[in-house]
Symmetry: C2
Subunit: 223 residues, 2 copies
Amino acid sequence: MSSQNPKRAMFEQFAAVARTIGSAHRLELLELLAQTERSVEELAGLSGLTIANASQHLQQLRRSGLVEARRDGKRMLYRLADGDVVALLGALRRVTERNVGAVEKVLNSYFRERDSLEAISRKELLRRMREGTVTVIDTRPAEEFAAGHLRGAINVPLHEIKRRLRELPRDQAVVAYCRGTYCVLSYEAVAELRKRGFKAFRLEEGYPEWRAAGLPVDHSATA
Amino acid sequence: MSSQNPKRAMFEQFAAVARTIGSAHRLELLELLAQTERSVEELAGLSGLTIANASQHLQQLRRSGLVEARRDGKRMLYRLADGDVVALLGALRRVTERNVGAVEKVLNSYFRERDSLEAISRKELLRRMREGTVTVIDTRPAEEFAAGHLRGAINVPLHEIKRRLRELPRDQAVVAYCRGTYCVLSYEAVAELRKRGFKAFRLEEGYPEWRAAGLPVDHSATA
DNA sequence: CAAATATTCAATTATTCTCTTGAATGAGAC
DNA sequence: GTCTCATTCAAGAGAATAATTGAATATTTG
């Protein structure tokens, strides 16, 4: 709480924001909010926190300007403040991954075929979308798709994929995406599609990063 | 310290790194290290910490992989781990600035003419350097310049600027930079040069960001 | 207006982090 | 080998943070 020196005071502000993301629970809440706006009860349920505790963490996030809230009837709906927050979490992820062996190990065991399924970048996907040489599938559940998705993507939730193979082209590339870098849905989808002979790829990142980059999204129901 | 759930364990790793940058002292140390490699004693002096305390903070930064250390005789020299760290600090700065009024106020009082002196981006500067239509001056002290500077820049420490005006061209743009976004040296230099009728601009960011972006740097003595 | 629901507040306890102090280590100098 | 210097380690007091509980507030519903 010092402040004699303006530079020190500034560092103190930065540090306060950093401390706010210095909690696994709050990071999880932020990840959940990166998908879509959600109520306190929903967030508590998804993260395994009690309602009161989730509320307190959300208020800390709010005080630091990382999330915003609005009232909808008797519920409070929270959402990420903006794309800079997604960028901050991405930077944190990169720094952590590079130097912390433990993360590597978790990644290797959890996302088993991580590196074997080549990913394409946002830039590359955009180029191919403009060319019209690619079909983009969103492997998240229908509700999440409805709340926002890449413009031009079709919703094929992972568990429906086997039933819906005939909607997908065999002569051009299929790119799957889901919630973000640590979401397994698109990995599974790509693995399944490859097994069936499709030219399937995974988008390197997920919906939150796409939206944060200011790239086109839609909020319609199933396209 | 949980770890039953792999996802939770991952968040815990990220949170640990975030907590490490959640301290004004450590952020200041990181900023000092963004300039150049330094010894514990030097860092303690510059940041006003006791040696023992500085050492402990540096070890925390090291455990989180944010800095690296090497021994040189009886001194330990610390340096930033890599450019990702600069990117993380930049992302933290952006998120904080946008939402925390206190930072705005500090900026306005400390960097008084902040917005009145237009800044040019790295990209723009690179373009003009290739064209040869710009002179780049580094306004930091000679020691820092010697430890690393933008390739093609000449060192004109702020306090020497009045004496060295005749080295600078009046017919083409002069771009000044210094330690980073919160360094005042380049602001002062640009203000002085404008007063004298030069076409002077400030580089948006400083040396650490330039180097972190992988752009060309040199380590010679005064060029 | 009273009841029901969703969220927040306030107080408590347990845990973690910070700084200080003085001793211990490692490397070079004599 | 001993001395000196730079850094690190270890222990303890004080401060900040986290999770839990139960009460309080705001909003819709009857």
